[in-house]
Amino acid sequence: MTANPWVRPYVLTGGRTRTRHRLYVHTLVAVKRYDPVSASRLSPEARRLYDRAAVGAQSVAELSAHCGVSLGVTRVLLEDLAATDRVRINDDAHTSPYDHSLLKRVIDGLRELA
């Protein structure tokens, strides 16, 4: 599924290209409480992202790929959804990827598979 090819990306984002928060491709996004009424008021692209995130916490990349919404547009729309309290952006995205307690947990998890 791809986004509507006739609509330019800046129309979908209201002209915005940047987000206030750092949204990494692997940052997890989740829906706290799915609200169908609220969903019905969203643009088609934002609604696809909201509906998909309601299935379970997923990365920005997964949401972008599954909804056929380009990564840049996905970031802007997710931030809108977070600003209106529809989705929760995982705060861990703001801690260091080199945090040794995180690295140790990943290493321990992988060791069980090696």
């Binding site: 491709v25 990349a61 790929a65 990827p97 290493i107 992988l110």
Partner: protein, 198 residues
């Protein structure tokens, strides 16, 4: 819309980490991501704006017409509250802005090389040596399960510093691929300070 591969419901405080798998075209990035991932690797062309399948990149002389990008990512649930994402970089140099984006927030990088075609991975090695802060490890993909060159010979040919670990991997074998990922994370532990700098 199609809900083909529904992710599990996750507890509220889930953490994600990311490892970037880089290297030239055809060195086994997609294979490695697919071997380790619990979901089929997502190959997405819809990432960049105006994904246009009608444009054949081989015919295009104008860089602006080739806005599609094929790249893969996979995911591995390591604990109830911990997910590891693997991102394979798009091979072509024109996607370097995308590499910057993929590498931001990565815990480690694995640069795959094929000893029969070392040159295709030169740009990736260069990138991590000069243009990225993400600690990296070079992994020699054993295509026929056989090591054809001593690792030190590969190191010389690639021109990578002695401080960069070199490992071998069979990208088709899950345990082997996981061990290569472990080597990349162990390297990051050694190269970074235990206390996060920010």
């Amino acid at each position: 819309m199609a809900f083909a591969s529904l992710p599990d419901r996750l507890p509220p405080n889930v953490t994600s980490a990311k490892i970037v798998v880089a290297g030239g075209f055809g060195v086994g990035k997609t294979t490695l991501v697919g071997t380790v991932s619990e979901i089929p690797p997502v190959n997405t062309e819809a990432w960049m704006t105006q994904a246009s399948r009608s444009v054949d990149p081989l015919n295009g002389t104008d860089a602006k017409t080739t806005t599609t990008v094929a790249m893969d990512f996979g995911r591995l649930r390591l604990a109830q509250d911990l997910i590891l994402y693997l991102f394979g970089t798009p091979g072509q140099p024109r996607f370097w802005p995308m590499w910057d984006d993929l590498c931001r927030g990565a815990s480690a990088a694995l640069v795959l090389v094929d000893t029969r075609r070392l040159d295709v991975s030169f740009p990736a090695v260069n990138y991590f040596e000069n243009d990225s802060d993400v600690p990296f490890v070079v992994a020699v993909n054993l295509f026929d399960g056989m090591q054809t060159h001593p690792l030190e010979q590969v190191r010389d040919a690639l021109g990578v510093a002695a401080s960069v670990p070199l490992v071998t991997v069979d990208a088709r074998d899950k345990r082997s691929a996981v061990r290569a990922l472990l080597a990349s994370l162990t390297n990051t532990m050694e190269k970074t300070s235990p206390v996060p700098s920010r």
